[in-house]
């Protein structure tokens, strides 16, 4: 199997671009699951919801879908708060361990899927940004804008969240609540509001990731189920509750998939990615950057 | 003090070292316990007492040195087999089985902890009807001694801190060990409760059970121990008759800190 340089270079680029997209999909899980121990299986469902909202608004007003999703992220933020409030009343308050939340969110996943079918119908939807058909060529390497723009916005979002969590008081409170919410409560911090804020943030990222998804490929309500495994794998591989880890985990899986597809058989890409995860878990159970 | 004739010690710890990254928690510690002997193990917090207990019990693997029980090296044995071989420990911070009642908590060590080839015991792997029920009277006897028989059906998760400590000790005793390690079993108990526990631990002697008591309650340690070993910063700085050890200058400075 020869490795011509052009193929290798492009495989790296494709892997990084894909990794950027995977990071946007998984950063929400890294917050809700990694930090708050909320097993939000419905996260991909909210991503698809984001795709549809971006589709409707940009279809009507002709604005770029990703811009629309960023503008509408406060809406998703409020949705996230409402969902967390229900989750908190039903589970967190009674000290239920996170497994119960799993079944709760499976129900939410089905509800969002059918709601999308009822409201938007079952046809494939897709949206074209102005850049969807342009590709930058730099020597042998090509950079399809359809993947580059989501990549850039995704990196900005993930790095922004990392800085927010590390630099601001509220951000540090979110990190603290992940480690020891009891200690935080003793210091007079209203942990409910902190957790609610963090979960709402995770749903806001889902809305934005939805716009990336619909720009990259056509979407229909049931596609969400395909990504459940992936988003949790990236979060755990990267390390529970570590945003930096999620980014690295996403790149590792993106590159693994891209190289397997290019040089071996694309059919084996998921087996390679998840095999990597299994190996990582066996040697470093708390993930690459886990706490 | 007559020289203990050449009887092989129940527990022989030689040169045990344990490091966590750069920090040396145990530095070549030697310790011997004769069958039925009452040993007090004291030392300031962070001196390595719990680490030594974990190495003996098998929940931690010592980096160097040997641990022998009745002359047999148990260094490679997993913790549960060390319990079968006769080493049973209680936890400094109580760890009850929350979903079970107090008496069910005792059924676990009775069924699984006692040396499996004991004559009367049916092997726990046997899928006959629940042998746990036959362990009732044995469990109740221990609960009476420790003063928890009234709460035998209470959920262990709901016990007070003090009762949880008693349950810890009761569970360790229920495994019928040859060597019982009581890790701060009396912290926070009232004077009368300390006396109850002391009476129970003294009772261990008749059953031929050696006891390592790790305590800060000096009154209890001095009264209980036939011998005292002192650990400071991972090293054993004294081992011998209680009165002599306590009077030793470096022990005093270690404790009172000059």
């Amino acid at each position: 199997m020869e490795f011509p340089t052009a193929l290798v270079l492009n495989a790296i680029i494709a892997g990084l671009l894909l990794g950027g997209f995977y990071a946007a999909m998984s950063v929400g899980i890294s917050i809700s699951f990694g930090m708050l121990d909320v097993v939000n299986i419905a996260h991909p469902g909210f991503i698809i919801l984001g795709s549809y909202i971006a589709y409707i608004v940009s279809d009507r007003l002709g604005i770029d879908p990703i811009a629309v999703s960023l503008a509408l992220s406060p809406l998703f933020f409020l949705l996230g708060m409402a969902i967390y409030r229900i989750y908190y009343l039903c589970f967190e308050k009674r000290g239920q361990e996170s497994l119960r939340g799993l079944a709760f969110f499976f129900g939410i996943l089905f509800i969002t899927e059918v709601a999308l079918v009822l409201v938007f119908g079952v046809d494939y939807r897709s949206v074209r940004g102005a850049y969807s058909e342009t590709t930058w060529r730099l020597g042998p390497m090509d950079f399809p804008m359809r993947l580059v723009v989501p990549f850039l916005v995704s990196i900005a979002m993930v790095v922004g969240i990392e800085l927010f969590l590390a630099r601001t008081f509220f951000g540090r409170a979110v990190l603290a609540v992940a480690q020891d919410s009891l200690a935080l409560r003793l210091m007079g911090v209203d942990t409910l509001r902190v957790k609610e804020f963090a979960f709402a943030l995770s749903i806001a990222t889902a809305g934005v990731a939805g716009a990336f998804l619909i720009v990259i490929q056509p979407v229909q309500p049931a596609i969400g189920r395909e990504y459940i495994g992936l988003v949790f794998a990236v979060c755990v591989l990267g390390g529970m509750g570590s945003i930096r880890g999620t980014l690295v985990g996403a790149f590792v899986l993106g590159l693994a998939e891209s190289f397997t597809s290019t040089f071996a058989g694309p059919s084996w890409a998921p087996a390679v990615s998840f095999g990597l995860l299994l190996a990582a878990l066996a040697f470093k159970p708390s993930g690459l950057f886990g706490r | 003090m007559e020289k203990a004739q050449e009887v092989t010690p129940l527990l022989q710890v030689t040169g045990v070292t344990k490091r966590f990254g750069g920090f040396t928690a145990l530095d070549a510690v030697d310790l011997a316990v004769a069958p039925g002997e009452r040993l007090g193990l004291i030392g300031p917090n962070g001196s390595g007492k719990s680490t030594l207990v974990n190495c003996i019990a098998g929940t931690l693997r010592n980096d160097a040195g040997r641990i022998e029980l009745n002359g047999r090296d148990i260094g490679r044995e997993p913790a549960f087999r060390r319990v079968h071989l006769g080493v049973s420990r209680s936890f400094q911070i109580p760890r009850p089985f929350k979903s079970m009642s107090v008496i069910d908590n005792l059924r676990i060590p009775i069924l699984w902890g006692q040396t499996p080839n004991s004559a009367d015991g049916v092997s726990p792997w046997n899928l006959g009807s629940d042998p746990g029920l036959r362990a009732t009277d044995e469990a109740m006897k221990i609960l009476e001694e420790i003063g928890l028989s009234a709460k035998c059906d209470a959920m262990s998760g709901g016990l007070t801190q003090v009762d949880m400590r008693k349950l810890e000790l009761a569970r360790a005793i229920a495994a019928k060990p040859a060597l019982l390690i009581a890790d701060e079993a009396m912290a926070g108990l009232s004077a009368s409760e300390v006396d109850d526990i002391l009476r129970l631990l003294f009772g261990m002697k008749e059953r031929g059970v050696a006891v390592i008591m790790i305590e800060h309650v000096m009154r209890a340690v001095m009264k209980f121990s036939e011998r005292i070993a002192v650990l400071v910063a991972g090293r054993k700085i004294a081992d011998g008759d209680p009165q002599a050890v306590v009077a030793q200058p470096d022990v005093v400075t270690a404790y009172l800190g000059q």
Partner: protein, 314 residues
């Protein structure tokens, strides 16, 4: 009740149910019952590792598929009788359970759950690329023509087999639960370190629980190829097996074998009824809403209510 007597009662009831099948008005009820009982076995099996020992398995669809595809392999290779397929499928899934059991050596809690999910994806990719059993093209498994005991439809054979397998699974689950092993597993669930220090051989018990749980989940899948006549990977590795095998014990109650049985009968029947009465996408919506409602109202499952009621009554 002693284990052997419970086993006798269970198989007697199973025999009675099978004997009563001529009273069933038509074949639809056999088909629906087959599916509901399939979920009873899956939920009961999942609970042995998930409920008793506290290790959550996200990859139950993989065990189900190992059972199904071992039957497909045998059908193509030697076309043995059904009982041979059931036994070998159960053993194959049990071996996978053994491997998963040793995973618990390195991983616990959520990491174990994600590892089983990863294992399911890896297995799915192998089956997709395994041409002998049809791979992505799928394999046709034709129901035998000559039926034993003069039965007219093969669904009766599948239904009877499923009833017996359900009895077998319940007996195994209850035997484990009400024995020293069950107590050991409960101790592991509550506090694994304390259990180890109380003399419980935690690794051996976890491996036993994982193997038995895996074997029974595989058993639930062994007759699936005949029921479906055409098996392809996405049918055998379907999300509904992963979802239901976790949701049903949660809803019924995870502390005893009765919980998963109740949860599976309840949620399984509701899914069957809704699926053939609501002629639109609303049926999935109803299942989703019920899942949310059940889980919020019954935090410790239905058996949780029963225990609380009993304790209040005492």
């Amino acid at each position: 009740m002693s284990h052997s007597r419970f086993a006798l009662v269970a198989f007697a009831v199973a025999g009675a149910i099978i004997a009563a099948s001529p009273l069933v008005p038509n074949d639809y009820y056999f088909s629906a019952a087959y599916t509901v009982l399939q979920f009873v076995i899956l939920a009961t099996a999942w609970n042995i590792l998930g409920g008793y020992a506290g290790y959550v398995n996200f990859g139950s669809a993989a065990f189900f598929a190992v059972g199904a595809y071992s039957s497909v392999f045998l059908y193509k290779w030697a076309h043995p009788p059904l009982i041979v397929m059931i036994v070998s499928g159960t053993v194959a899934a049990g071996l996978l359970g053994l491997a998963v059991g040793y995973l618990t050596l390195r991983m616990r809690g959520v990491f174990f759950a994600i590892a089983t999910l990863a294992l399911a994806v890896v297995l799915y990719t192998f089956v997709v690329n395994w041409d002998y059993v049809g791979g992505a093209r799928g394999a046709y498994i034709l129901q035998p023509r000559d039926l034993p005991f003069g039965l007219t439809r093969y669904i009766h054979v599948l239904y009877a087999a499923m009833v017996l397998m359900t009895a077998f699974a319940l007996v195994i689950a209850r035997t484990i639960e009400t024995s020293a092993i069950g107590r050991g597993l409960a101790a592991i669930r509550d506090d694994e370190l304390a259990a180890e220090c109380a003399g419980v051989p935690t690794l051996r018990l976890k491996v036993l629980a994982a193997s038995v749980s895996g074997a029974l989940m595989g058993m639930a899948g062994t007759t699936f190829p005949y029921y479906l006549s055409y098996v392809e990977p996405s049918a055998a590795f379907n999300l509904s097996y992963a979802v239901n095998s976790i949701a049903m014990p949660l809803i019924g109650g995870m502390m005893s074998w009765i919980g998963p049985l109740l949860g599976a009968l309840l949620l399984g029947t509701v899914q069957q009824v809704v699926q053939v009465t609501v002629s639109s996408e609303w049926n999935l919506l109803i299942v989703g809403v019920l899942l949310v409602v059940f889980v919020t109202l019954a935090p410790n499952g239905i058996m949780g209510w029963v225990d609380a009621w009993k304790r209040r009554k005492k």
